[in-house]
């Protein structure tokens, strides 16, 4: 495959943007995602039946990737789905990053052209199968017409149409020119899953060979002739402005070419990053910090706690909550989650060439079309004058669902003659993130005869959706913030869920891998363990008793318990914790085994996940995503916290915003259950599962019921009790 080939975006695809967000969240998209790339062109001999597939006369098949590759393996999964229904030749597949074009490549779940929320396979499963099947039908029809036979008497395999009776065969390449004039048929039948030849088998990823030898090109690797290099400083206080800049020392540094001073940031442009960085360090900048300089974490938490004491907007109500809470033994607890930075391994960057009448951008983003439109605004140009070249992403995790880095780079590039690569230092990346918001969740529940009879759950936190996808923010409810709170799998007769919108002052907040479910699954699953203890029941047994109507959950829970040796004796201060989650359309049970030493330090011993994600397109990728997701979540549970003092972020790099390392990584086993159900999401599931399962393991090992992340070791030293 050739992942570099984003340059062909102009040649291959052109088209306008759809006007804004048209439909409500979670509605199937209009048929537009399956529109032809361009009017059928019968002159070049190429067959371009839709936005995703092009077949050249030599049989080379180009697949256009509507979702971006940030490590989750989606380029391979998308290719497998297309090739499956197309019956294409896997050896002749070439991949292209999709250009900015919301109409063609909008995500059917979000409507906008975005990769996130573990939606890629769920959203594109049907449109891609239809695209492949319709292209196949056109090729078969073309062959059948040439041969004068019934299309139903023809078969296809690996890029060849065969008429069995007569033994005649034609390759897709040979049919391309003739097929190109056809109108795509409607309602083409899709394969019976039992006939799948690609889907469900472990396929080697298409993007990885270039990642072992330095050839893969990420946004930060873009090389544009004659480009300069820049790095920037934004006001350390959120919302602050540039006051005075003394650039005398910086200008003397060899290789420094220009100092760009904007109202809210300063950038140094040089011959290379080192000159830019030394130049930036040599600047003396006085900031006008503004009112946010008074903000600190304590005040933010005080505000959030006060907000979470108030009634919220009702997101779900079943049974009679007043009655439910009035009967039996009552337990109440609050759970708190901190701000988190994304810290993608590839620091934020964008290379931009602004000219008076056009702007070209090289970057890696999860939101192609939005980057294009926001860049156009920043450049003061019409959208069609802005070209965005997308690249492989060195991690996304939601950070690149925001366009701010590209907007800043465009504003800097407007002051520079020629192209400029703007690279954030790690410190700038961590201190100017769009953070996972703080959340506080309070649950009150009642137990009667060892069963939960009342469940009142209140979530308090920022409404990211209100900013990011306004049409989906309705009646005061952030559908992401309540995700996995309103569909708790347990059989509880009286349930009440409400949401309090509480925006932290000044700190920008956004999506972070695992999104809403991270928050809700943590609170719910931790609290379930506390209820189990109160009821005197084993945590797995307690859950089982509430899952009679939930065979898929029950089955993954039972298998996880078995694989993790649940119930077998463990040494002192070692525990197992379980987490069951309904998130992202998948059914997952996870058991973490951990040891807490006498000082309270936590040692991860083992993690076991059982995953029912419906049809597993590329099973090994599913295993890999859950393995990696668990580590991402466990990292946050052990270390993740961004704190604010004097309006600024206190962490700056991997020395004080720590990551789990290989020597701390437990043994991880992931079991994928065979299923014929529609595919679920997977990329974020492990992240959601890790923290509650670990916390419950610690609860089992020590009896201490931690209710905040990151897990506070000080509370875990020997002798401490809940």
């Amino acid at each position: 495959m050739n992942a570099h080939n984003s340059v062909s975006r102009r040649a291959l695809l052109t088209g306008g943007l759809a006007g804004g967000f048209l439909l409500a969240f979670h509605l199937p998209l209009r048929a537009a995602v399956n529109e032809p790339v361009q009017p059928p062109d019968t002159t070049d001999g190429k067959f371009t039946p839709n936005a995703f597939i092009r077949i050249d006369p030599d049989g080379m098949t180009t697949l256009v990737m509507p979702q971006v590759e940030m490590g989750q393996g989606i380029y391979t999964a998308v290719s497998m789905i297309l090739a499956e229904e197309l019956d294409g030749d896997w050896s002749k597949v070439r991949l292209l990053h999709a250009p900015a074009n919301e109409k063609l490549y909008g995500n059917p779940i979000f409507i906008i052209q975005a990769t996130g929320g573990s939606t890629s396979v769920r959203a594109f499963w049907k449109p891609l199968r239809e695209a492949g099947a319709s292209a196949r039908a056109m090729l078969v029809q073309t062959a059948a017409t040439q041969w004068g036979v019934d299309p139903l008497s023809c078969t296809t395999s690996k890029g060849v149409v065969t008429h069995k009776e007569s033994g005649r065969m034609l390759t897709y390449g040979a049919l391309a020119a003739a097929a190109s004039g056809q109108t795509p048929p409607k309602d083409v039948p899709l394969k019976d899953p039992k006939d799948f030849v690609y889907i469900g088998r472990p396929f080697k990823r298409l993007d990885t060979p270039d990642k072992v030898n330095g050839k893969a090109v990420y946004g930060i690797d873009a090389i544009v002739p004659d480009m300069k290099f820049a790095t920037l400083a934004q006001c350390p206080v959120f919302g602050g402005k540039v006051g005075k800049v003394d650039d005398r020392a910086a200008k003397k540094i060899p290789g420094v070419r220009k100092i760009v001073v904007l109202d809210d940031l300063v950038a140094v442009v040089g011959d290379h990053m080192w000159a830019a960085k030394k130049g930036l360090d040599a600047l003396v900048i006085e900031w006008n910090e503004g009112p946010n300089a008074k903000i600190n974490s304590k005040a933010i938490w005080d505000d959030l706690r006060a907000a979470s004491a108030k009634d919220g907007v009702v997101a779900k109500s079943t049974g009679d909550i007043a009655k439910g809470l009035a009967s039996g033994e009552k337990l109440e607890a609050s759970f708190e989650l901190p701000f988190l930075a994304h810290a993608t391994m590839e620091p934020l960057n964008a290379t931009v060439h602004c000219k008076p009448d056009s702007c070209e951008i090289w970057t890696g983003t999860q939101i192609m079309a939005r980057v294009q439109s926001e860049a156009a605004k920043a450049a003061g140009l019409p959208i069609e004058k802005v070209i965005v070249n997308n690249h492989l992403l060195g991690g996304g995790f939601g950070r690149k669902l925001e366009p701010d880095m590209v907007v800043a780079a465009v504003r800097i590039a407007k002051q520079v003659d020629g192209p400029v690569k703007v690279v954030w230092t790690r410190e700038e990346d961590i201190q100017h993130d769009v953070y996972r918001p703080v959340y506080r969740d309070t649950i009150a529940a009642t137990l009667s005869d060892g069963r939960i009879v009342g469940w009142k759950y209140r979530i308090a936190g920022a409404a990211i959706i209100a900013r990011w996808l306004p049409p989906a923010f309705q009646k005061g409810i952030d559908i992401d913030a309540i995700d996995s709170a309103t569909d708790v799998p347990y059989d509880i007769p009286n349930v009440h869920v409400e949401y309090v919108r509480a925006e932290p002052p000044a700190v920008p907040t956004g999506f972070w891998r695992g999104v809403g479910p991270n928050n809700n699954v943590f609170a719910v699953e931790c609290f379930i363990d506390e209820l189990a203890r109160k009821a005197g029941k084993d945590p797995v047994e307690f859950r089982r008793g509430m899952l009679a109507q939930q065979p898929r959950f029950l089955s993954v829970l039972n298998l996880a318990a078995e694989k993790a040796n649940w119930g077998q004796q463990l040494p002192a201060r070692v525990g197992r914790g379980v987490c069951l989650q309904p998130s992202f359309g998948s059914f997952i049970a996870t058991v973490v085994e951990a040891e807490v030493d006498e000082q309270g330090e936590i040692n991860l011993r083992r993690a076991t996940s059982v995953v029912d994600t419906g049809i597993a397109v590329n099973p090994d990728t599913i295993v890999a995503q859950v393995e990696g997701g668990l580590i991402f979540g466990l990292t946050a549970a052990l270390y993740g916290e961004i704190t604010i003092d004097k309006g600024r972020v206190q962490q700056s790099n991997f020395n004080d915003y720590r990551m789990l390392r290989i020597n701390q990584t437990p043994k991880i086993e992931v079991h994928v259950v065979k299923s014929g159900e529609a595919p679920g999401g997977i990329g974020e599931t492990g992240t959601t599962a890790g923290p509650p399962a670990l916390r419950n393991a610690i609860y089992a090992a020590t009896g201490v019921a931690l209710r905040r992340l990151p897990l506070d070791r000080k509370l875990l030293a020997a002798g401490k009790k809940a």
């Binding site: 940030m70 490590g71 989750q72 393996g73 080697k204 990823r205 993007d207 990885t208 060979p209 990642k211 072992v212 030898n213 330095g214 050839k215 893969a216 090109v217 990420y218 930060i220 690797d221 090389i223 290099f229 290789g255 011959d271 290379h272 990053m273 080192w274 960085k277 810290a343 993608t344 391994m345 590839e346 620091p347 992403l393 060195g394 991690g395 996304g396 995790f397 230092t425 790690r426 090994d620 890999a624 995503q625 393995e627 990696g628 997701g629 668990l630 580590i631 991402f632 990292t635 790099n653 991997f654 020395n655 990551m659 789990l660 390392r661 290989i662 020597n663 990584t665 043994k667 492990g686």
Partner: protein, 154 residues
Amino acid sequence: MATTLIINGETKSFEAPPDMPLLWVLRDILGMTGTKFGCGIAQCGACTVHVDGKAVRSCVLPVGAVTNRAVTTIEHVGSTPAGAKVQKAWLDAEVIQCGYCQSGQIMSAAALLAATPHPDDSDIDAAMAGNICRCGTYVRIREAIKQAANGRQS
């Protein structure tokens, strides 16, 4: 003043201040972008290259300190026996997700295997703990190093 380095067996001359980290020479002067910037303070290992066969963090290594020494980068590590084994094992075990840290992971693993052909878990921990992977591929990194050491086929 021109600086001369031996990179991947080739002599390269270029203008650079002696305190400029090798990372930026590779990426921004020589256009060799396989070596990655991650943190700039030797905390993450994304920038790992070999100098005289040893794994070093190029983000804090002044170019003036490696004049006339043999530098190997990810672009060329496949021509060493250990590097080739590691690259193959990485693909066989399907280690990679986003891949951004993997240049550094592979360079650290190749240096480990060149020095310690049959590493145990603690050798792997010691050699690889300086390399952060945000995608969390550590379980497979460990497995792939063992595969590479054993010459096992997947």
